[in-house]
Subunit: 557 residues, 2 copies
């Protein structure tokens, strides 16, 4: 490694989402220029109490804000775009995105009231953009949303290819296949670094084309005795197109319910990404007059999201819809890891109400949008990169993808399994992880950003386990004597059979202990607080075997 | 249905575990006799805060304790035996179990110090037992634990077959296949009701034999450059046998770590269920002198259980073991629904430390113990039941299994998809769900039993979301005036940027409100408490947008 590396070297820095599904952000830095690829969100895990969203930590970008030239968005999914409204208020740089993603981001920025303050550009595949020393070109790829791209980035250290999320689908719904010709050309130019989607690097063979679903969807709709309700992702415009086509063939009308679904469908129609014959998509109100066997409804909720239309219907608390005799319900999505149990609960509740339910376990009603192992090999074969970094996926996916790269002839020492914050420095002929910068998670709580290391989250975990017991102790400031009996209350805590007795005994124990105590001359309040907390914790542990959070408050009267 | 049904009818009552994986308990009642099949536990879901175990609700059995003749255990897995130590102290009836399960239950009862007070019988398949009007015979089935059984129960309303958990494995590790001959004989006698395992009713084809793993395990061990560590279930004695065989063939020594694993292996060896050549299994201490390529270690943790040996090694906080260069780690289990995410995190942490990790996604290192669809058909074909109730599985599994039964010729009106607490009454020629009795969940917290509807769990959820803010208010009992400024404290709550200011402002707001209040003549304490709580909640909601639990405590001085 040259001694003066950082000046004459490309730095590749994943800032969020490596080792995870979702929440992608990758920075490329050379000299005084940084471009950022994607700015996604992740939904909180069950133990992230009170957290609404998880976004990448952009501390490194803020430290270097004078260098940041642009954020480039590969496609319109939440895990690539969702952090934009949280990033721009802190780091107002131009955002470049393909047209559909541009439309979806516009909606978000308007929601957050920062659209007019933001610089947002819609790009076309093939156009070139120069950001300082970087020359960037988006190229079309297939994925489970139209208008998805990868990005070719020409740098002084050589050509970098970022695949975005992709699969090779020769018969995609939008009829725009991955741009093999351009990929092959780029491969011929000589590629220094390939950053490639690893989400399905453990999946053998080829991912099926979206087209395999057409006959299945048509048959399901044709054979259904009543309504057919489809739950899928609001951004899965291609699937919505397929469902609308199948409905039209069967002479059924399609209604869309749920705010995000309605907005996305309207926008996709307006922008030409969803092409449905006049009169097939109808407002949901007009369904009420129609025979159920002439209708199809599309909604969100295939991941069991608790506020989605499908979950509300499953729990029988949707304002307008409930399961009716003859309903067929199709979950057209594959479970995001971690969501399996809640999805199955949703399915069970629909079945209990008498619906027929088709889902990944009992019908082919979904294909995912990511390349399987043979496609990943094809990408590596076309691009023939000198260096390889697997991106997008949990750590085991990255390891599997690294194994594929090595099996395709990339030298093991040129394959880097990176973690968020790792800094990979490279020139044309060497590469090394040289540093660690702040990266990873930031929590969105309401619309504020919280550091995950905030002790509050740990406190919430202990509160959740055994609840809280609080003592209020009023003490005469002059004498240190109790001015009133201690008051106790509990929340989320209970000594099962004998709760009132235990609490009364705890008050007596406190009175005894605090009444016979010699207090120090200074900081009486703190001394009483500590003593009361210690005595109460010990008493409850002995009496109940539980360890609730114990808080003591002291008033000096 | 005869008017006098319950006197001359068989009542079939699932008490826990229908619509779920695990926690099985089924009661059969006729006249004055009840027999119970299985008494399992389930591990708590993530939102069951502070809950250690989930067991069936036996309120119905307690109400009818004079009728309960016995608990029959089909096999030794936790989800069929784990509730026994919690049930017997309340309902001390004889327990009958096949030998290995008997041994495992003995260990549990000794742990709970109730062994000597309990009546525990080891049975042999083929023996007959009479419990009041019921005549019961256990028959051998294959499952992922040796000595698994189903039960044939002769009742005045006809013959009932309970399959237990089963698969048809023609080459099981313990060389004892399912007793086809006896099953066929029973089928010939005429079966009124079949209760059959539904866990894999969505899985096409046949479940592979355990024997398919032998060559895989041998090759993994032969090719491993260093230690091989296997994580599996402590009760999966057959897998432990296979690993020990493969290790012996490769001249390696096997050590077992973890209390439950060590105990089970010792007992299985003693009882003859685990047959390993002398000297292959060695104490863990003796590994330290051996070259890693001559060792195999077996441990728990394949489900990502947080206190298991594997999780500790993955988090690098195991007392004796950490990942070393050249380690191969094999997770030989399929994820229990809901555990997928934590298992993947465990795998990722092992990979990060440089281990090679083999698991269900990248190698065939496990086969499960339940019949797939074709085997379920074979069972239905042999038994030819008049009535059918799918058991063991989530609701969607039960629905899938019911579909199979109908496709095999059982009349749809004779197939009952039951829920916990449903009472199915039947004689030889009619059957109907006639009633609902208390059933479902009871939570074990420590060693006490809690009702899931206890408000404490709801309170813990709100505590977990936004934490708690507590106010202590000391008021002069005579005048109603504040005797001291209110004291505030927060736990698991924080107004991010300006926490001290917000809390100070909250105190001022309380002083203002409580200082200018006219109090009623009676119950001053309660009036102050309510007012303080209301004011503080409102202030915090306006100031921070969050809704913590607010507790106010009042001392009258």
């Amino acid at each position: 490694m040259p001694t003066d590396a950082s000046a004459g070297a490309l730095r590749v820095i994943p800032l969020g989402g490596l080792g995870e599904i979702g929440k992608n952000m990758m920075a490329l830095e050379y000299g005084d220029d940084i471009v950022v690829v994607d700015a996604g969100v992740m939904f909180p895990e069950e133990d992230m109490f009170g957290v609404d969203l998880v976004i990448p930590n952009i501390a490194y970008l803020l430290e270097n804000q004078h260098k940041v030239r642009a954020i480039l968005i590969t496609h319109g999914h939440e895990d690539h775009t969702g952090a934009v409204p949280f990033v721009l208020p802190e780091l107002n740089v131009p955002v470049y995105a393909p047209k559909l993603a541009h439309g979806l981001i516009e909606v978000k920025l308007r929601d957050h009231r920062i659209l007019s303050a933001s610089e947002l550009h819609a790009i076309e595949p093939g156009e070139e953009f120069t950001f300082g020393t970087f020359r960037c070109e988006f190229f079309h790829v297939c994925h489970s949303i139209p208008d998805a791209t990868g990005i070719a980035i020409h740098t002084p250290a050589g050509l970098v290819i970022h695949t975005g999320d992709f699969k090779f689908d020769h018969t995609p719904v939008d009829e725009v296949p991955t741009d093999f010709a351009r990929l092959a050309e780029l491969g011929m130019e000589g590629v220094t670094l390939l950053l490639s989607d690893s989400t399905y690097a453990e999946s053998e063979g080829y991912t099926p084309s979206e087209a395999v679903l057409d006959p299945n969807l048509e048959r399901i709709i044709a054979e259904a005795p009543g309504r057919v309700m489809f739950a899928t992702f609001a951004s899965l415009i291609a699937r919505i197109q397929q469902i609308a086509n199948a409905a039209a063939k069967n002479g059924r009308k399609v209604a869309v319910i749920g705010r995000s679904m309605v907005n996305n469908v309207a926008m996709a129609q307006q922008m030409g990404y969803l092409r449905v014959p006049e009169g097939v998509i109808v407002p949901v109100e007009s369904l009420s007059g129609m025979p159920p066997e002439q209708t199809v409804i599309i909604m969100t909720g295939a991941q069991g999201e608790p506020t989605s239309a499908l979950s509300r219907i499953a729990n029988d608390d949707h304002r307008d819809f409930s399961v009716e005799r003859g309903d067929t319900i199709v979950l057209s999505a594959s479970p995001i890891p971690g969501n399996e149990a809640v999805i199955m609960r949703t399915i069970d509740n629909l079945l209990r109400q008498g619906a027929r339910v088709l889902h990944a376990n009992n019908a082919q009603v979904h294909v995912h949008g990511h390349a399987s192992r043979e496609e990943l090999k094809l990408m590596l074969r076309m691009i023939k990169p000198k260096y390889f970094v697997p991106i997008h996926g949990e750590y085991h996916h990255l390891v599997a993808h690294a194994g594929i790269a090595v099996s395709m002839g990339v030298a093991p020492e040129r394959v880097f399994i990176m973690e968020d914050g790792d800094v990979l420095e490279m020139s044309g002929d060497w590469a090394e992880i040289v540093d660690q910068v702040p990266a990873g998670h930031v929590y969105v709580v309401g619309r504020r950003l919280w550091d995950p290391s905030n002790g509050v989250f740990k406190e919430r975990q202990t509160l959740a386990r055994d609840g809280v017991v609080v003592a209020a102790v009023a003490v005469d400031g002059a004498t240190g004597r109790l001015s009133a009996p201690p008051t106790l209350t509990a929340h989320g805590f209970e000594a099962p059979d004998d709760h009132p007795e235990v609490m009364a005994a705890a008050v007596r124990r406190l009175e005894e202990s605090l009444g016979h105590q010699q207090w120090p001359d200074e900081d009486l309040e703190e001394a009483v607080r500590q003593q009361a907390g210690r005595v109460l914790s010990g008493f409850l542990r002995d009496a109940t075997g539980r360890r609730p959070v114990v808080l003591a408050l002291v008033s000096l009267t």
